[in-house]
Subunit: 364 residues, 2 copies
């Protein structure tokens, strides 16, 4: 299989995403991007036994010295405390301004390592090696880094671009089914936002994709990265259209916070959140009932939750009011004008209520 | 007195420094720079009773709502914990992405508030109102923000530019003598780095400056800000010449860390550190003994310490090896080719030893 290259054209810091096989095991692309033959690899206890020694071996063979920082695994560890573990480790080993941080793992590792790179000594280079489908199509592209706060997800962070992203298909082989599905939620998101043709392509190939056909997966990842790269290059700091990428996320973040981080995977919450956004769009007469069912059906085939937990309308609203997209007290929602055409808008109370009553679990 | 305006021409984010009187009490310039009529003012327990109500009154008169965040005072509070207090307060009050943070205080408040602005919701606007001489001439210009870590000063931070800086001379009236002197250390630094004419001007006017003549002070602050703005505009991220601004800081940081943060003021440590840098430059035959004495005499007239604490050469070297300017294990020093001409270079062990034995307190 050929390696796909997607260029992310951020003004001041363009970089490449490589998508293919055998990227991690050779690590040749990494060596070319270092400012000194020294890296610190941040990973977690799940990924380390699978890929860390392979990566370290490939880097050491190029004469690169490697510090290993292994964190506990899970969204509930995306905290100040974990970030501080990275800082302590870097300072103890005297990592320098030219030392490159490498994020080896999923979205949580990528977000935390990117943020650590943004603030260690006011900024050091970093490289992403996303090992989950979700991270490959979404969180490793675009430079959003963050940690969570008890009062809100991703509330503390920075916009900070990597020097290089390696999306190695080999790492998807070991991905648990539930994580794989969570990644498909973000894949489907790109179709819903502004690529109807891709949505149709996904409907055609969903079964083969779920069977992890590598050629189709590489194609899907490339297409998602291209979509995201285009949106991010036009609006790095999310002053406008980049917010479209948050389709399903305002509801989704409320689900994650309401259930406690880690109970649902991020992608699962986004899937159920996209269904709520679809119901809300239907309440505004943008989508038909058939459109909503089409969204639900595709997500179901990707083995994702389509019914949201019943937190109660008040708790949903309180949690959503904490969202970063709030402006002068008004929550900005990402809604669908039609399938494949998202927009940023406000939701009347009645539409929120309609969406929640259609999309939430019925409490008996 | 007219208000001086110094433009800082950072590529992507130019901004003005206003230097004058009555800036805080009217706060008219602030209103024009807000993205929503809402600010959060971060200050400390020393500055709050002096200036907070005045500022809040002036802002509220313009219809701007103000959140007040008052931290304990001192370099020893420039920590994760204080930063977290700011984050907690902002999240509790649901500060938004367009809410502007205002730093009202000295260098510690400015550095922490700037860093908080850099990372809260991945970046919100901020405005600096430096209330110490040191902050007015140095730490509020150039966008370096940071907190300390037990293993090193300013090790965690970001480059993040303010939208506006107000240097109000009125605030210097209440500044304790020791703090005023500490600010003069940074003023003198600009003369030593690359402005011999300014150094001579300072030698002429040092007594009047120490008597806080407002016209002379405004002139000195303007000149320091212009010097710094020029250096920073050319090298925002300190990949080259910006490091010259760290004259006296490599030794100075070692003094601060060695004695425990807060024992000496930053400016005091920089003063003694500049004397060590001068001795080191003499050991390299760049400066004459008379040059070194000229530096010492000016610092003494500014009532600054010129003799460094005797931490022992080994501890000095160990602490300096933690500096951010270390590259591949080699410490970069800022040295003087002659008075008014600094350069970045390495120091042989013998020159470090010579400087420490000439400049440190003799233990009996």
């Amino acid at each position: 299989m050929n390696t796909h290259v997607v260029r992310v054209d951020i003004d001041h810091a363009p970089y490449d995403i490589l998508i293919g096989k055998n990227l991690l095991a050779t690590a040749t692309a990494i060596g070319q991007h270092l400012r000194q033959p020294r890296v610190a690899i941040v990973t977690n206890t799940t990924v380390a036994p699978l890929y860390l020694s392979q990566l370290v071996f490939a880097l050491q063979a190029q004469g690169i010295s490697c510090q290993e920082i292994v964190l506990p695994d899970g969204e509930q560890f995306k905290t100040w405390e974990s970030l501080n573990l990275i800082m302590d480790a870097l300072l103890t080993e005297r990592a320098e301004r030219k030392t490159t941080l490498i994020a080896l793992g999923g979205g949580v590792i990528g977000d935390m390592t990117g943020f650590a790179a943004a603030i260690y000594q006011r900024g050091v280079p970093f490289i992403q090696i996303p090992t989950t489908l979700l991270a490959q199509v979404d969180s490793s592209v675009g430079g959003k880094t963050a940690i969570n706060h008890p009062l809100g997800k991703n509330m503390i962070g920075a916009f900070y671009q990597p020097k290089l992203v390696l999306a190695d298909l080999d790492t998807l082989k070991t991905l648990p089914d539930r994580e794989f599905s969570a990644g498909m939620a973000e894949v489907i998101k790109y179709g819903l936002i502004d690529d109807l043709e891709f949505l149709q392509w996904l409907e055609t190939h969903i079964d083969a994709l779920m069977a992890r056909d590598e050629t189709l997966l590489a194609e899907a990842i490339r297409r998602c990265c291209e979509n995201k790269a285009r949106i991010v290059a036009a609006d790095e700091k999310e002053t406008g259209q980049r917010a479209l990428l948050n389709l399903g996320h305002t509801f989704g973040h409320a689900i994650e916070a309401g259930l406690g981080y880690g109970a649902w995977l991020h992608g699962e919450a986004v899937a159920a959140g996209m269904v709520l956004a679809a119901y809300a769009s239907a309440a505004l007469d943008h989508l038909s009932a058939e459109d909503v069912q089409r969204v639900i059906k595709l997500l179901e085939k990707a083995r994702l939750p389509v019914i949201s937990p019943n937190l109660g309308a008040e708790q949903y609203k309180a949690l959503m009011a904490q969202d970063k997209k709030v402006d002068a007290g008004r929550i900005k929602f990402i809604l669908l004008r039609q399938l494949g055409q998202a927009y940023i808008g406000e939701l009347p109370e009645t539409a929120i209520d309609a969406a929640l009553s259609a999309g939430c679990e019925v409490v008996k």
